[in-house]
Amino acid sequence: MSTPGDTLSCGHSLADLSEYLDTGQIGDPGHLAECPECQSGLASLRRLSALGSELLDADTAAAGSGTDDWMKAILGNLRLELRPGRSIPLRADTPGDVLTETEGSISALIRSVADSLPGTAAGKCRLHGDITEPGAPITVGVDLAVVYGHPLEQRAAELRWKLATTLARQTELNITAIDVTITDVLEPRMPDPQETP
């Protein structure tokens, strides 16, 4: 260390203590516990670390909320490109026409079905199988979060049934199974003030 006074009279450097703070590792932990100099150095570094967290909190608060105009402007500039995924062929009424729909549109459909059930939200969904081959057997996998207090089994069963009927009606996929995985149980929202008696 170039700064004078960085090495304590016990032989440890403040750099050792700084690293210990991050990794919990130091040459002789026994010494650390008993050395007043090291303890005082560590205490000083810990106070700085607490101040750093305080500054981060203050800076984050000063940065404003994610619902403020600055974030709206950023999101407006992003123009997120779509993720179409694989192309799913559709039957054409007129020979020679080539019709397809995208995997992304099926994911969106699955999410909208899951989100429309009370107290549930979809997570990731997957279409297993060769969706580019008409009639190929396809398995649907969907992650689901359920708000605490809603019956899990019942919600999963409802979702399977709704997805089966919706996908049968709106797509030509040959769905052989629908796997619903409940990945999260969500804290219920605080009730709206006007709903409170």
Binding site: M1, T3, D6, L14, A15, S18, E19, D22, S44, L45, R47, L48, S49, L51, G52, S53, E54, L55, L56, A58, D59, T60, A61, A62, A63, G64, S65, G66, W70, M71, I74, L75, L78, L80, E81, R83, P84, G104, S107, A108, R111, D115, S116, L117, G119, T120, A121, G123, K124, D143, A145, V147, G149, T183, D184, L186, E187, P188, R189, P191
Partner: protein, 195 residues
């Protein structure tokens, strides 16, 4: 309706991991919920690293764009905040390099107090509460050599490991260890007066 998270603003209630899964599937509403949730801390980090409010917003925008493109590489969706902050750190440093290369205005160089001061003017009540101790830390931070400050911010704000900081700054982990220690020693000494 009791707690159906279906409406877009209700996405703000679901955990990161779920939003990452949806966003990776192409759900822009889920991605925007992630951006709203972690945007402020990304902005705070970028402000400290670049020392400029305008640059910080450019950095946040570029970081979110990169995040959208690379979302399918996120293995643990619940750790997405750290991942977003790593991107923010890298983009901030890139921004500083570009600025150095493209302008010889010299003293564009870090006036962190400027950013901090402006932020505080917007939140006078906060400044009053946290008092001059925070101002002292900001001043001490602004007075640090550039490379030390970057190490300190990447550690204290972005919570990066030595290896990650080394990668971001393109230096060795031994250098990270040394610079971080020097930064802390200087800051700790300055702040001892404020106990």
């Amino acid at each position: 309706m009791t707690g159906s998270p279906s409406a877009p603003d209700q996405l703000d209630l679901v955990p990161d991991g779920l939003l990452v899964g949806r966003a990776a599937d192409g759900d822009t509403a889920a991605f925007e919920a992630l951006a709203r949730r972690h945007g402020p801390v990304m902005r705070a980090s970028a402000r400290r690293l670049t020392g400029s409010l305008t640059d910080a917003d450019d950095v946040v925008q570029e970081s979110l764009m990169q995040a959208w493109k690379q979302l399918d590489t996120v293995r643990n969706g619940d750790a997405v905040k750290g991942w977003l902050l790593r991107i923010t750190g890298s983009r901030s440093i890139d921004h500083l390099r570009l600025r150095k290369n493209h302008s010889d205005l010299g003293d564009l160089d870090h006036k962190l107090e400027a950013g901090a001061g402006a932020a505080h003017r917007d939140h006078p009540e906060h400044a009053a509460l946290s008092g001059s101790r925070m101002d002292a830390l900001k001043a001490a931070l602004a007075a640090l050599p550039e490379e030390q400050r970057r190490c300190w911010v990447l550690k204290a704000f972005n919570d990066q490991s030595y290896e990650e900081i080394a990668q971001t700054l393109n230096i060795s982990t031994a250098s990270v260890r040394g610079r971080l220690a020097r930064a802390r020693i200087t800051l700790a000494r300055e702040m001892e007066d404020w106990r």
